[in-house]
Symmetry: D2
C-alpha cells in the first residue's frame, strides 16, 4: 500500500474538524483558502500525514482520504446518505470482499462508493439509476475514490426488473422500495439480504408488508442516532445539535420455499 503522495493523488488537507479540503495534488498547482494558499509541490514526494504551513502560517495536515472522507465530500446534488447509516447497511447486509451487490438508486454515489470499497477487489456492484443527470456525478465520485472499476452503473428502472442473478445483497434507497421486492427475490441467492433505507414511516410500513407477503424472513427495522461529544477536562459534554433523523433501515433475508 503506497505511502508517498504522488503527482495527481487525492489529499485531504486538514486544518480542523470543520475545515478540510479534498484535493487532487497536481504539480505546479495550489490550494487557495481563507487560511492562505498551499502549493502542492510542498506535498508531492512526502509521506501522507505530513504537516505544512500556508503562506499565512496556518498549519495544514496532508491526510490520505479514507472512505468516510470520500462519502462526506460527495458532490451534493442529491440528498446523500450518512456514514452512520452506510456503516450499518454494510455490516447488516453481510457483504464483504467478493460479494455481488445490486443497488438502487445510485444518486451521487455515496453508498455506491462504500459498497464498492468493501466488495473489492473480486466483488462487484450493479447500481441502477434512472436519473441520467446523476450518473455523471456518481461516476466522478467513484473515480475520485478509486473504486469505479468495481461498479457498473445502469441507466435502468429497477422497478421494472433486475437483470443480475445469484446476488448476495440488494440495497435500496428509493421512494418506492416495495415495487422492487419481487425482483429482488428473484435476483437474490437463497439466504441473501435485502436492505431498504427510507426517511418516512409510511414507506417502511409498505416495504415491510411487501416483504412479509414475499418469502423474506428475519425482517427487522431500526433507526440510529449519532451524537458527538466535546471532550475537554472541565468542559466535557455532548454537542449541542445533532441530526435527529436520517431514515429507517429495514433488513430481511430470502428463504426458499415450498
Amino acid at each position: 500500500m503506497k505511502k508517498k503522495i504522488r503527482n495527481g493523488d487525492n489529499v485531504l488537507l486538514y486544518v480542523n474538524p470543520r475545515r478540510t479540503y479534498l484535493v487532487k495534488a497536481e504539480k505546479g498547482k495550489s490550494l487557495h483558502t481563507h487560511k492562505g494558499f498551499v502549493p502542492y509541490d510542498s506535498l508531492i514526494g512526502k509521506e501522507y500525514g505530513v504537516r505544512t504551513a500556508s503562506n499565512l502560517g496556518i498549519e495544514f495536515v496532508a491526510l490520505r482520504p479514507s472512505l468516510k472522507d470520500f462519502i462526506f465530500k460527495v458532490q451534493r446534488r442529491t440528498q446523500i446518505m450518512y456514514p452512520k447509516d452506510i456503516a450499518l447497511i454494510v455490516m447488516f447486509s453481510g457483504i464483504g470482499p467478493g460479494s455481488k451487490v445490486v443497488e438502487a438508486g445510485t444518486g451521487a454515489g455515496a453508498l455506491t462508493t462504500a459498497l464498492a470499497h468493501y466488495v473489492k477487489p473480486t466483488g462487484r456492484v450493479y447500481s441502477y439509476e434512472i436519473r441520467t443527470e446523476f450518473m455523471q456525478t456518481a461516476l466522478k465520485n467513484l473515480e475520485k475514490a478509486s473504486v469505479a472499476r468495481f461498479v457498473e452503473i445502469k441507466n435502468q428502472d429497477i422497478t421494472q426488473g433486475i437483470a443480475e442473478t445469484s446476488v448476495d445483497a440488494v440495497i435500496l434507497d428509493l421512494a418506492t422500495p416495495w415495487l422492487v421486492v419481487s425482483h429482488a427475490f428473484s435476483a437474490l441467492k437463497g439466504s441473501g439480504t435485502i436492505v431498504s433505507f427510507s426517511p418516512t414511516i409510511d414507506q417502511v410500513i409498505k416495504m415491510v408488508e411487501a416483504l412479509r407477503e414475499s418469502k423474506f424472513v428475519d425482517i427487522e427495522t431500526i433507526e440510529t442516532l449519532l451524537r458527538g461529544m466535546q471532550i475537554e477536562r472541565g468542559k466535557t459534554r455532548p454537542e449541542t445539535l445533532m441530526t435527529a433523523h436520517t431514515g429507517y433501515i429495514t433488513f430481511a433475508r430470502k428463504s426458499l420455499g415450498k
Copy 2:
C-alpha cells in the same frame, strides 16, 4: 461463492428473530430444541435459505450465517462489542480489503472477526490479548467464521509495545487505551487511524488528552444509539426497551511532523 449446504458447514437455523441457532450441519446429527428436532441430513445438499420443519411441525429456515450472526453468537465469556459500534469502528477506521490492522484486546473475538472479514483476503489483523483464557475462545470463534487465517493472535501486552509497523489502523478496546497512544503512533503509517472504544467518559477524557499530546489530529468522539421499530399497520411504534449505552468511540489520525 458457494450456495449449497455441505457436510460440516455453518448454518443459522431461524425460527423467529428471538430464536435462532448457529450450528455445524454434520451428517447424521440433529438440532434438538423446544420446537422439536431438525436432522441436518434434511439440509445437506440443499440451497441456503431452504425451509424445513421440525418433527413438531415448526418451520425452520436454514440461513447462511453472515458476519452479524457470527458477532452476535460469539461465546459470551467477555463483554462483546455491539454490531452498531463495530460497524462505525470499521467504517470510520477507513480499513478495507488489504488493510493491515492492529487490535487489542482480542476478548472473545467479536470485533476481530469483523476486522478480519473486511481486510481479507490480502490484509491481516494482529490482535493482542494478555488473558490467555480468552485466546482459545477467540480462536474458535474466528475459525467458525472462517477468518482465522487472516488473524494473528498475540499473547502480549500491547501497553508494552507494538511490534508491527506501517499499519493502517490501531483499534483499542481496553481499560487503559492512553497507555497505547505512543506505541500506536510508532506503529501507524502517516495518516493512519487510531480508534478507541470505552464505556466510561473518564477513559475518553484521558484518551483524548493523550492523543492531543501526541501528534494525532482530527480527533473526534461519538456515541450511537440504535432503536428497533415494530412495524405493523395500525400498531407501528418504536420498541419498548433499548440499550442506552455501550460505549464512546474516539477516532484520530496520525500526522507527521517537525
Copy 3:
C-alpha cells in the same frame, strides 16, 4: 406545611434507589422486608428525613412522598404513564393552580394524581373512565396522594360527549382519541389546550388529521427519551438500559372561527 410524621401518614422508606417502600405509618405496626423490619413507632413524631435502622442494622430513611413517588407507586393494574411524559403534558397543557381540566381515561390514576396536584386547591379535574374496575383503584391512589377532593371520576364514555364547558385543557390517554376531538372542541375555552398521549404512530396520524379538520391550531407532536447517568469519578457513564418508547404526545389549541 407539616413536617412531623404523624400516626397514619404516608412515608416513603428509602434504602436505595431500587428499594423504596411507600407505607402508611400506623402506630404499633411495622414494615417487614428482606432488609429486616422497621416499627413505625420509631418514626412517628420525628421529622421527615429521619434515618432509622431495621432490626438487621440496615439504614432506612423516612422520606415524605412526593408527587413522583405517588405516580411510580400507583398500583399497576394498567399501563401507567411515565413521569417524564406527565411532566411534559402538564407543562405544555398550560395548566396550573385553579385550572379546570377534563381527562380520559382515568386508568390507575397516575396522570390524574399529577393533574390534581397542580390545579389544587381551586382547580378541578373531571376524569372519565368506562372501565368500572379501574375507578376503585384510581380513587384509592388519589386518596393516598391526598388529592381525591380535587377530582371527580365519572363512569362515562368520553367518546359520547363531555358535560363540562369552558375547560382549560382536555387530556386524553385512550385508544381512539380522534373520537373525542369534536367534544373537546365544544368543552374547551377559546385558546384552550388539547393533549393526547398515544403509543403508536398510527394513532397519532389519525389524531392529527382530526385536529386539522377541526379548528385546532398550533398542532405539535413530540416524543421524549430519558436516560439515567451513573455518576462516579473514574466510572461515569450513561446507564446500560433505558425505556426506548412510551408514547407520542400531541398538543393543539382551540381557535374560534368566523
Copy 4:
C-alpha cells in the same frame, strides 16, 4: 378565569408554529409584521382563540399565552432553560401550590416563571442572582407572565449562604452548584429536594460528590432528549434536526440524622 381579551392583556398572535408574536394588546396600537399589520382594537373585547386577518389577508389567531409561551419568549440575554428540562425539574422537585422554593441563578427568569406558576398562590420563590444586569430583565419577564408577586429576587451570592429556612426545594442553575450544597442542606426541610442543572459532566461529578459527602440520599442524574415529529399521512417522520444536549439534571433529598 377571564376569557375576554382586555386592553393591555398579553396575547400570543399565532400564524404558524414558527411565527408567533407575544404582544401587549393596547388600544389604538397594532402589530406590524411581514405578514401585514393587525390592529389590537380588532381583538379587544373578543374571546381568546379568535381569528383575525392582517391587512394582507393573512390569518392570525389570538391565543392566550400559556406558561410555555412565556418561557420561550423570555428575552434571551442569557442562555435560557428549555421547557423539557423545566418540566422535569418541576415534577421531580415535588413542588406544587404552596411550596417554598429557593432558586439560583435567576438569569432571564425562565425557570423562575415556571416555579412561580406552580407554587402560586400561597407558595413563594426566593431567587438569588448576583448579576444585577439580569435582575431587571427577569423582573420584566415575571411581570409579563403575571407571577412577579410570588417571587422575591435577591441580589445576593447564594454560594455565601441561604437566608431562608424550612424550604421545600432548592433549585440550582449555576456554574458551581457544589458550593451551595451545605447551604441548601441547612435551608431545606427534612426530606426536601435539591435539584441542579449543569451542561457539563464535570460539574455533575463534582455536584454528586458534594451531595454524597453531605447527608443527601436518593441521588439521581438524568438527561432528556425531545424529538419533534412531522405528522402527515404518507410523509410521517421525525424532524431532521434536534437539540442534542441542554444539560444534566441531578436530584437528591435531604436526610436527617446521626
